[in-house]
Symmetry: C2
């Protein structure tokens, strides 16, 4: 739906004022603080129109207006201006990504912390599916009777591993052979890209070690088990600083949700599917009742060509969208880069 220029200006002013004050904004304040060039009375008329059209709402008759979901939506889609990360923020980000980290988990935890710190909201990160990252090499390290460590080196030089069982009688030679076969089949590809033929070949070749193979593939795939995805939440307590969560019961319900990995996973997964870069999900668009006062800014990070994980910032609907979008975008780029280039 279209909107004439003055209405846009009014809407923009209301949103920006409300974002910074968290108080309903009235026509008089608006006229005083923003140079709209018209009188409060005129603004009142515009506001009444905007309310009828669903862009604004009024907490009660004698209060000012606050933006409705539709208003925020129009703002982020049309009115919001681009925003560059400040040198300070850029430094802070560089600091994290220039460090030498070989554990993906550690990197992601730091990413969550970084996003929370720079945005002052909460940050959510879902770890990558191993099955979606290209594999550089596989090693099978014998540990002790009946167990081995399956070590995976992924694209960026990151290491993932898991203990697997194997028949006790497997010899070193056999282990070498198995690991050779796995290497041959997997090197340079992602598990999900494996053709049926390749898998069949693998099964044929390694039929004797069926249990070991299936554990390996489970580890690589993990697609059936979303709980297998590692979830990192940074700065959950930031929510407590927001005036919309002055109510303890309300904020408790939210924090409880954020402690459930499954939920965080869902939220990030549902938000902004297939969006180009950064996606914004506002209020009721997040399908959790506890989050109707929140918005979510999400993005997808990749390794090479493959989509592998998601990161997001959760804040009040009354969020500094432009700033958050720029930070999320920035961090996503850096993270993808680091995961591709390595260490």
């Amino acid at each position: 739906m279209w909107m004439d220029e003055r209405k846009e200006k009014v809407l923009q002013a209301i949103i920006e004022d409300y974002v910074s004050t968290a108080e309903p904004v009235g026509s008089r304040t608006l006229a005083r603080k923003y140079r709209l060039g018209v009188s409060p009375a005129t603004i009142r008329n515009e506001m009444a129109d905007l309310e009828v059209q669903g862009y604004l709402e009024q907490p009660h008759t004698s209060a000012g207006r606050i933006p409705a979901d539709k208003g925020y939506r129009y703002y982020v889609d049309t009115l919001m201006e681009d925003h560059e990360a400040t040198p300070d923020e850029q430094n802070r980000i560089a600091q994290v990504f220039d460090r030498r980290l070989t554990e993906v988990d550690h990197l992601l935890r730091e990413t969550a912390r970084l996003l929370a710190e720079t945005t002052h909201y909460s940050a959510l990160v879902v770890g990558p599916r191993v099955g979606r990252t290209a594999i550089k090499g596989v090693r099978l390290v014998p540990l002790e009777e009946g167990r081995a460590l399956l070590v995976l080196v992924t694209e960026g030089g990151f290491v993932e591993d898991q203990v697997v069982d194997m028949p006790v009688e497997v010899t070193m030679m056999e282990l070498q052979r198995i690991s050779g076969v796995l290497n041959e089949v997997l090197r340079g590809r992602t598990v999900i890209s494996l053709s049926r033929d390749a898998l069949a070949a693998l099964h044929h070749e390694l039929d004797r070690y069926r249990s070991l193979l299936s554990q390996t593939l489970d580890f690589l795939d993990q697609s059936e088990a979303p709980e297998g995805d590692r979830v990192f939440v940074g700065g959950a307590s930031r929510m407590l600083a927001q005036p919309e969560f002055r109510n303890v019961e309300k904020v408790k319900r939210l924090m409880d949700l954020l402690e459930e990995e499954q939920v965080v996973h869902d939220i990030l997964g549902a938000a902004g599917r297939g969006e180009p870069r950064v996606a914004i999900t506002i209020g009721e668009e997040i399908h959790y009742r506890e989050m109707t006062d929140c918005s979510l800014v999400t993005a997808t990070y990749r390794v090479g060509e493959e989509t592998i994980g998601r990161i997001g910032v959760l804040g009040p609907k009354r969020m500094e969208y432009a700033k958050v979008v720029s930070l999320v975008d920035n961090v996503t780029q850096r993270l993808s880069e680091k995961l591709s280039r390595g260490t």
Copy 2:
């Protein structure tokens, strides 16, 4: 300090009532709810005495009494009765520890979650120092030019690893030799138990690979870097359910602290040093101003003989001590057992 029997009964009743209601308790209520066999007036006299002696305090003149830190201390040291975990709780615990887990981190995260769930308070866990666990075996797995994966199998069959740099020109043979030497020196011992001689021998033998060796020892030791210790917090949001934290700003300050690993580490480290089994730290005894309304029940878990990590439950001072103590004790035993016996 000693206390006559009736005073003890009064103190006990007040604490137990306050624990369950979070309201100051008056003489009349006390006489009605607990069979103390004396009139409110008598109880009032006892309460006045207890207040003078510092066991109780009065929020304001016309309110009942609440326990002071000293009162809680007397209670947990003298009055508290033992408590057994219920079958339900026992089941819940068994469920976690009977699962097959090969990653220490995963196990500890689950432990934190479990403690939080069963106690309904927040749980803190500090991961073990690798340097304090006995080592069953070491492997060095070549990854790619200049990097190797150092794999450690600890006492209980748990696996820890870290990427280390090495000179590019190291051959497979040499790697085997290094790993052989490491194995010989380390197997069956803890790093901190290594004698100067053993270390010197190691340095002598592996002088050519000095950087690799020092990285290895750093990884094993980590004693300089407490941030290296992994910290897990479970159910931080449980605090929000406590009436003493109805105030958002207050609870925010607490939650902010709990997000800092260093702080959690400090708290657990300071509490109950050298106590036999479960230690209780009350109010001001925790040296953080934000936690003066909290108590902490901590214990140390071990692998074999070695003390290696700590776990604790953080709740309001008004905590169900007996229940928490039994749960912490129970979980500590199970955890130690699992870490010693393995997987």
